[in-house]
């Protein structure tokens, strides 16, 4: 599995720094909401020059209500009802040119955010595919956006309606966007996770490349569905798909500095690390050296964590470095080994988090402890329904 850097606010310098460590394994998904045309066309080729793969998320999910001025000022932004007819074709032409300008070799095709997977939405998707097939993509391979609401994803019939239709669509790659229930950062629904795994596995078994956008470390379990890549970034609104960020009046920034303990699959505020220090268990939260991140070392060297000069920049780079290692190690040589590994990671984190919680060390809303059961439930469901096929066809 591969990690794409999902761009959001203030991501360019992080990408430059991380790409120096990662080299040609760097891959980015640029965000027109957060970058001007000038920035996109300068930064994209710069990343390509560093050997990175560059994609662009057009972010046309709900064009009728999107009014974020940075996004709607791009030349490709549709001026009238979208996803069919001349408006789509004109927008697609502009989008093709923009993708060429940023040095992309593949183009993410916009897709309507599905409140429900129904005949109308399916017709829209088919219309998009038809228009893209008729367009000259200048040699770029299309990656089709499939963006689903939580209501659509937890509906078994709708998920399978989508899978049935995907068999008939002539597409090879999907940029899968799954909105979390209740807008939460961490997912607390076994059904949502189970259907996410089922959908992704169904797509993979159907021969599609699957890139899942807007992910946090909680979605590492997607490895068991054989997905090709997940995308993650700095702020919460690029680790969990947030439709509101495209609406100016609902775009709210929350700033806080967090520390990611990758082996515990949880994030902590510095205050929680201070408690761990006071309780003499801080070492348990220290990131193992195998993750290759020194961005957070100072937290464990300082007289106490809050006295370290650990800042937002360190926090983001530490998170992404650790996540990259986790992503790259998530898929093992057999399905069973991959499943066992995911369960072992979750079990280990569960045991440790319970013990830490008992000592007053909690990641609050970013502590995975209460969510681990949902991940394990989802893995069990997938294993029952698709385990035998996945095992036989591994690696997908």
């Amino acid at each position: 599995m591969k990690l794409y850097l999902q761009f959001g606010h203030g991501m360019m310098e992080h990408a430059r720094v991380l790409s120096k460590k990662w080299g040609k394994k760097t891959a980015v998904v640029l965000s027109p909401r957060d970058l001007t045309h000038k920035q996109l066309t300068k930064f994209g080729p710069e990343m390509v020059g560093l050997g990175a793969e560059v994609l662009l998320d057009p972010q046309i999910y709900i064009p009728a209500t999107t009014d974020h001025v940075n996004l709607t000022s791009h030349a490709y932004w549709p001026k009238s009802p979208y996803f069919s007819g001349p408006s789509f074709k004109k927008s697609l032409d502009e989008l093709i040119q923009l993708n060429i300008s940023i040095g992309a070799e593949r183009i993410i095709i916009p897709g309507e955010f599905a409140t429900n997977i129904d005949a109308s939405w399916l017709k829209t998707q088919q219309s998009i595919i038809h228009d893209v097939n008729a367009a000259d993509l200048e040699g770029m391979e299309p990656i089709y956006t499939i963006a689903l609401s939580p209501a659509a994803l937890i509906n078994v019939a709708q998920v399978h309606l989508l899978l049935d239709n995907l068999e008939k669509w002539s597409i090879k790659s999907v940029y899968l966007i799954l909105k979390h229930p209740d807008g939460n950062y961490l997912i607390d629904s076994s059904m949502w996770l189970a259907n996410a795994l089922d959908l992704a596995a169904g797509m993979k078994l159907g021969g599609l490349e699957v890139i899942v956008g807007y992910c946090s470390h909680q979605k590492l379990i997607l490895a068991i569905a054989g997905v090709d890549a997940i995308c993650s970034g700095t702020w919460m609104n690029v680790r969990a798909f947030c439709i509101e960020k495209f609406i100016a009046s609902k775009d709210m920034a929350q700033r806080s500095t967090w520390y990611f303990a990758p082996h515990l699959l949880s994030e902590y505020k510095i205050d929680a690390l201070d408690i761990a220090f006071k309780q003499k268990v801080l070492a348990q939260l220290k990131t193992p050296a195998s993750y290759g991140s020194s961005y957070a070392d100072q937290l464990f060297i300082a007289p106490q964590p809050s006295l370290a000069s650990y800042d937002e920049q360190d926090s983001f780079r530490h998170y992404l470095q650790c996540l990259k290692v986790q992503v790259e190690n998530a898929v093992l040589s057999t399905y069973q080994a991959t499943l066992d590994n995911q369960i072992a990671l979750l079990d280990y984190a569960d045991t440790k988090l319970k013990a830490l919680s008992g000592l007053g060390v909690s990641g609050q809303q970013r502590d995975l402890q209460k969510h681990i059961i949902h991940s394990k439930n989802a893995l069990a469901v997938l294993n029952k329904q698709r385990g035998a096929i996945l095992s036989r066809k591994w690696p997908l």
């Binding site: 899978l163 049935d164 169904g202 159907g206 029952k384 329904q385 698709r386 035998a388 096929i389 036989r392």
Partner: protein, 284 residues
């Protein structure tokens, strides 16, 4: 035409080239006789009920001829009955002798070797059917014949087979056998029918070979209860290993998933799996 079976004199008049007519059975929409053919030897003569549609009979013939598999009885001749019985269709088929899989199941435990043989042979038919976009739609123990020496098995009765590129002949209902047909058949989701529907029915049939019962049907008090089980119950894993590595159990679990997207994509994939199982061999 009235009265089944037909009088021998009547049959001799209609089919002068055949001889030694012997009534075998009347099933569904046809009567079956054994007869001697001058070149093919013993054949099965099937005469269609006048109530059935000729289109269906023609499609059955077409399906069998297109599939052209060793495990499907060969059609020798077919045609329409002469006046005054115009409209009644007939065909002669290669004669096959043996017991139905239903009879074998009722006789007692079926050997692991035969179970793997049935799976492999029927999947070989389904691959050919899949190639021609034909779905049998009625795979069940009654429609599988086992040769007396168990060296061969045949899939019979393509009477409700469907060519996926042709117009449905059944309107708003879908013929099937409840207890073996998958959800998409029971729910008359015609556009959802494909080889995976047959794979489900084959999976249930093979499960019954192993366990001696069909859990969808066993102890059910009504058809509604069976339908409900098909919708909401996953077959348990078989209670014993049939092959050395226990892969046959995995294959059956996959074939019998409620949602067709959870099943194997094609008969070809299923046969590849079976071939791997056969290489490892059955449990003695």
């Amino acid at each position: 035409m009235s009265g089944w079976p037909h009088p021998e004199a009547f049959l001799q008049q209609c089919f002068p080239a055949l001889s030694q007519f012997k009534f075998v059975a009347k099933g569904g929409q046809k009567a079956v006789y054994s007869a001697m053919h001058p070149t093919a030897g013993q054949v099965a003569l099937k005469i269609l009920s006048p109530s059935d549609t000729p289109e269906r009979f023609q499609r059955e013939i077409m399906a069998i001829q297109m599939i052209d598999a060793q495990q499907v009885p060969l059609i020798i001749e077919h045609g329409k009955m002469p006046e005054p019985y115009e409209g009644n269709f007939w065909m002669t088929e290669e004669w096959i002798s043996g017991l139905t899989l239903r009879e074998k199941i009722e006789q007692g435990p079926i050997s692991n070797q035969l179970i793997l043989k049935v799976a492999t042979d029927i999947l070989s038919v389904l691959i050919k059917a899949e190639h021609h976009r034909i779905v049998h739609r009625d795979i069940k123990p009654e429609n599988i014949i086992i040769a007396p020496d168990e060296s061969h098995c045949w899939l019979i009765d393509f009477g409700i087979a469907r060519h996926l590129d042709r117009t449905s002949l059944t309107g708003l209902y879908m013929p099937c056998t409840i207890g073996y047909a998958p959800v998409e058949q029971l729910d008359v989701m015609k556009s959802h029918i494909d080889t995976r529907s047959d794979l489900f029915s084959l999976g249930v049939t093979l499960y019954e070979c192993v366990e001696g019962v069909n859990p969808f049907i066993d102890s059910a008090t009504s058809l509604g209860e069976i339908v409900d089980r098909i919708h909401n119950m996953q077959l348990p894993r078989i209670s014993r290993d049939i092959d050395v590595k226990g892969e046959f159990g995995n294959l059956l679990q996959t074939l019998t998933q409620t949602r067709k997207n959870h099943r194997l994509e094609s008969a070809e994939e299923a046969l590849k799996w079976m071939n791997d199982i056969n290489i490892e061999g059955h449990v003695e």
